[in-house]
Amino acid sequence: SAGCSSEASSETGPEKIRLDYAYYSPTSLVVKKFGWAEEEFEKEGIEVSYTLSQGSNKALEFLNSDSVDFGSTAGAAALMAKAKGSPIENVYVYSKPEWTALVTNKESKIEKVEDLKGKKVAATLGTDPYIFLLRALNEKGLKAEDIQLVNLQHGDGANALASGDVDAWAGLDPHMARAELETGAKLFYRNPDFNTYGFLNVRSDFAEKYPNYVERVIKVYEKARKWVLENPGEAAEILAEEANIDVEVAKKELERNDFSNPVPGTEHKDALKAAGKVLKKGEAIDKGADIEKLVNDLINPSYVKKEDQ
C-alpha cells in the first residue's frame, strides 16, 4: 500500500494533519515542543493538531475512530489492534525503549525469575509489562499459572509493591524509574529485547491517500530523534516538564531508550512475532490469527527507506 513518488507529485495535501503525542514517546514531545511539524507544513497552509495519548489503547482508539492520523503505541498493542482488524500500519519506530522490567522491593529475597514461583506479581493485563513477564517466565521454563498474577494499573502496581501487597511487579516507566529513585526498588530482571518497541502508526487510508505526507511526518520525527541524540540533557528536561515528572526520573527513563534505529525491520518483526505467540496463549489474540501475516501487514518500512535515500 506504499505510495510511489511519481503519484506523489500530483497528490493534493490533506487539510489537516493530526498527530498525537505521548509521554512514553519523547520524540513526539520534542516535535510538539519545537513546532517542527507546523514549520514543515506551514507553506501549504496545512493545519497541524496534537492530541495527547494517555496510553497505547487510547492512541489506538483515536486511530480507529479517525480522530488522529498518527498514533504512538507499543508494538504489541498495535499488533493486538491489527489482529482485531484495525486499519493501521507501523511506519516508523520512535525508539527501542527498555520501559519495562521485573521489579521488587529493596529487601526482597527475590533475585531471579525462578524465585517468582508461587509469588504475587502485579501487572496490567495485555500491556507490554504483562507480555514481558510472560516471556521472562517462559524463557525460564515457568508457566503463567506458576505465579499469582494480580491485575493492577501500572501506578497502582508500584504502590502495591511499595506497601508489600505484592511481591513483585512487572513495571513500566516512568513509574519504574520513580520507584527506583524513591523506594529503592530493584530491577531484578531486565531484557531490552523483550520489549516491543515504540511504534509510530498511521491510518492506512491516510497513508494511501497522502504517502508523501507520511514521509514528511517521518522526516520531522527524524529531526527530533537526531536532536534527542545530540541533546540528551535538554530532552530530559522537556520530558520532565511536559510529563510533570522529576528531571532525575526523566533522565533515567531516557537512558533506557535506544534511539539508534528508526527503521522498522526484521528485529521488530521478530519481537512482535514472539509477543504475538504469548498473547495468543493468553487469549488476548484470537487462536486462529496468523501472527506471521499480521506482523508483515502491520510493519511497513517503505516510507522511512525512501526518506533515507
Binding site: N57, L60, K84, S86, A160, S163
Partner: protein, 279 residues
C-alpha cells in the same frame, strides 16, 4: 411510576377502548412496549454492521457480541464474572445504604450534625471513582474488602443526599403528631420521618445502585481477576472491542435487573401514595 403493574394502563391514547381484546392487551403489554426501542436499535446496529458502515474493529455487530457472550458462557467464565460482581455490588450496596441511612438521618435531623458533617461529605461527593483507587489500595490493600468498600462509597452519596433532602421535606404537620405522643427523636425518625421520606429514599437507593455499578470498574481495578469491570478493562487493554461491548451489555442487563427489583420494591412500598393517575 409503576402503575402498569396494577393494570392501570394508559387512558389518553386510547380513551374509548373500554375492554381491549386479549390480542391487543398482549400487544401493549408494558414489557413489549419497553422492548420496542432496544429492538429497533439492535436491528439498525446489526444492519449497519453487516453493510460495513460500522467496521467491526470499531463496533462489532450485535451478533458478534452475543457470540462473545456465549463463548464466555461456554468457557464457564461468564458466571464467575457476573457472580463475583453481583456479589460485590450486593455487599457494597448494603453497606453504603446502611451508612447513608444512619448518617443521613442524623444530618437531616440535627442541625449541628449537619453543620459538622455535611460540608465534608459534599466535598467528597465529587471525587471521581478512579481517584479513590490509589487511596483505597493504601488504606485497605487489594483484597475483597477494598473493592466492596469502594462500591459502598459510590452507593453512599446519592442515598445520603436523597435521605437528607427527604427528611427536610417531610411535612412538619405529621411530625407534630408524633411530638404530641412524646416520641423520642429516634421514634420520630423511625415511625414518621423515614416512612414519609420513603419516596425520596427509594429514589436515592436506585440512584445509589446505579452509581454502585459505575464504581465496579474502579473497584475491580484493584487487583481483581474476575468481574465485569475487570472484563471491561482487559478488553480495553487488549484492544478487544467485542469484549468491551460485551461487558457493557452485561452491565446494562445486570443494572436493569437489579434496578427492576428496586423498582418493584418502590411500587410495593409506595402503594399508599395518592399519586397522579397518568395518561
Amino acid at each position: 411510576m409503576a402503575n402498569h403493574q396494577n393494570g392501570n394502563t394508559a387512558s389518553l391514547p386510547f380513551p374509548k377502548v373500554k375492554k381491549a381484546s386479549p390480542f391487543k392487551k398482549a400487544m401493549f403489554h408494558p414489557f413489549i412496549v419497553g422492548s420496542i426501542l432496544p429492538v429497533i436499535l439492535i436491528i439498525v446496529w446489526e444492519a449497519l454492521s453487516r453493510a460495513g458502515v460500522i467496521p467491526a474493529y470499531q463496533l462489532p455487530s450485535p451478533t458478534a457480541i452475543v457470540d462473545k457472550i456465549i463463548e464466555l458462557a461456554e468457557k464457564g467464565t461468564l458466571w464467575g464474572h457476573v457472580g463475583i460482581t453481583t456479589y460485590r455490588i450486593f455487599l457494597g450496596f448494603l453497606l453504603g445504604t446502611a451508612a447513608a441511612v444512619i448518617i443521613g438521618s442524623f444530618v437531616g435531623f440535627y442541625n449541628r450534625v449537619e453543620q459538622l458533617l455535611d460540608p465534608m461529605i459534599q466535598a467528597f461527593r465529587s471525587i471521581p471513582s478512579l481517584a479513590w483507587v490509589p487511596l483505597f489500595i493504601l488504606w485497605m490493600s487489594i483484597g475483597e474488602a477494598s473493592k466492596v468498600a469502594l462500591i459502598a462509597v459510590g452507593v453512599f452519596f446519592p442515598v445520603y443526599l436523597n435521605i437528607v433532602s427527604g427528611i427536610s421535606g417531610v411535612d412538619r404537620k405529621l411530625i407534630e403528631v408524633g411530638k404530641m405522643y412524646g416520641f423520642t427523636n429516634f421514634q420520630l425518625v423511625k415511625r414518621i420521618i423515614l416512612p414519609a421520606s420513603l419516596p425520596s429514599f427509594l429514589v436515592g437507593m436506585r440512584s445509589g445502585l446505579g452509581l454502585g455499578w459505575m464504581f465496579v470498574v474502579a473497584a475491580e481495578l484493584m487487583g481483581a481477576s474476575q468481574g465485569l469491570g475487570y472484563l471491561l478493562v482487559v478488553g480495553q487493554n487488549t484492544y478487544s472491542p467485542d469484549l468491551i461491548i460485551a461487558s457493557i451489555v452485561l452491565f446494562a442487563i445486570l443494572g436493569k435487573v437489579t434496578d427492576a427489583l428496586l423498582k418493584r420494591l418502590e411500587y410495593k412500598a409506595l402503594h399508599w401514595q395518592d399519586r397522579l393517575e397518568r395518561s
